[in-house]
């Protein structure tokens, strides 16, 4: 569907800056099987980013934008934090909300889109840091889940307030000393995935972004479940290498170390019964689609 709507007027194609020409000719809008493997062969929906060199959040952004199943009909809602520095470079509709209000804004947006475009799938995805999700915006986060709002909440968990110099956040691990939290965290990391499950989220995952195929899978699942059933929540570890004293090359290893079975970002998943059923149906359809495509290819050959 999508590329029919995202096109440059032919009279102006020659004067458009090349990144826009690339977007309409080489991006993966409308490609049902789009995913992280398109990175490097297609135009990405993120142009440049203003994050630090080697920042795992930039990896997460690229994987997420490559994995959204319906980017041309998706609106992302962001909040204050490192993530908000990236949104101006993203070719997906997005709203920057007041700090912490992201889930309230997304609730209204999703409802309005449902009324305004009854025949069209419109996905809403909240993407905010741990300060916005768990501290300042916890009320809005939880109330949206209680109300069973049909959108996905993604928390980029870097375990502190990174772009303001390293203050303590609710998702910081106990005992951690940050530049602007010299005493060290005195209480445990808030267990938001468990809270999300108890608050009515139908699909909850806690993981790192070290494996792009895994990020793709959980993003797609979260969006599909939110579309049909109810709220979903992903907590992705995107460590701030500057604030934990690592250099640019060490972000990936930090994530690998933190996802070991006994660590705080060991893969954790909760799926409600209706969501399990939905995902099974989607998997079956996908299998059928791939088989049909394979058959078609072999016939053509």
């Amino acid at each position: 569907m999508s590329k029919e709507r995202i096109k440059i007027a032919p009279e102006f194609f020659d004067i458009m800056p090349p990144e826009y020409q690339d977007l309409v000719t080489r991006a993966t809008y409308g490609n049902e099987s789009r995913g992280w493997k398109d990175i490097g062969t297609s135009k990405e929906l993120i142009e440049e980013h203003s994050l630090c060199a080697g920042c795992p959040e930039s990896m997460a952004f690229r994987y997420i934008l490559a994995s959204l199943p319906n980017p041309e009909d998706t609106v992302m809602v962001g909040s204050t934090g490192c993530t908000s520095l990236v949104f101006p470079h993203v070719a997906v509709h997005n709203i920057h909300s007041l700090f912490g209000n992201q889930n309230a804004v997304a609730s209204g947006l999703k409802r309005a889109l449902t009324v305004r475009f009854p025949g069209r799938i419109k996905d809403v995805v909240v993407l905010a840091g741990d300060g916005a999700t768990v501290d300042i915006g916890l009320d809005m986060t939880l109330q949206a889940w209680f109300r069973q709002e049909k959108f996905t909440t993604i928390c980029f968990d870097n375990e502190l307030y990174a772009n303001t110099g390293g203050q303590e956040s609710g998702l910081m691990q106990k005992g951690f000393v940050a530049k602007m939290a010299p005493v060290g965290k005195t209480f445990e990391k808030v267990r938001l995935p468990e809270i999300a499950r108890e608050s009515g989220c139908h699909y909850v995952v806690n993981c790192t972004v070290s494996k792009p195929s895994l990020v793709e899978k959980v993003i797609k699942n979260a969006v599909y479940v939110a579309r049909e059933i109810g709220p979903t929540y992903l907590q992705l570890y995107t460590p701030c290498i500057l604030e934990i004293g690592k250099n640019s090359m060490e972000g990936l290893q930090e994530m690998r170390d933190s996802e070991k079975p006994t660590e705080r970002f060991a893969y954790k998943e909760y799926i409600s019964e209706p969501a399990k059923q939905l995902l099974a149906e989607i998997a079956a359809k996908e299998k059928e689609r791939k088989a049909a495509a394979k058959q078609l290819t072999s016939q053509e050959a």
């Binding site: 096109k7 032919p10 009279e11 800056p17």
Partner: protein, 212 residues
Amino acid sequence: MTNQYRVLPGPEHFLPPAAASMGIRLPNPGEAHIHGVIVPEEQALEEAARQFLMAKVPTIFPGPLVLWAWNEKAAKKATAIRHLYETIKECVTPQQQAMLIPMPDYRPKYPKINPEVEINPNHPNLTIWHNKIDCCMFVGVHCHQANLSLKIIRGGTSCYTIAMCAQAGHEDAMLSFRDASAEKIMRLAEWVRKLKGTVKVSQVVSKSGASN
């Protein structure tokens, strides 16, 4: 009270007042304004054509509402705008350089925009200074972004601004049409053709770098 304020080429000063706050009002259908004075539309079409032909670097800035073919009306306007640009190019002397520079979207661009190939509403002066644009027309730009840009341009450059607005017009442009349509843009092109050879190119160069 007589309104003395006129919307004239700048640089006015760092923060020019919104023309509306100085008593400039928008035209009614069938009218336009020149420097804040309401005039019949035909007179404004003639004046806009004259300004294009007088300028050393007459430029059209098409915005997202016409750059993207999102409906039939937009597609028709795109054709008309390209025709206007080609007409201006054809009608100016070899010393003049007509330009067509897009404003593809409104995002602040980091680390910087390329002023040779695009204009951004948050710092339109960069594109105007870089290309020494002395007359420009906004078309297909959402009103709030056009207002912002027109004020910045009036504040910091000597560029003559024309707004081909699809709504009620812009007080902050030096010349503004309202209810823009493909037909109106074609009429402007006709006026450019009609005045070809009758207008002398401006020689004045202002302190801001753009001539006027």
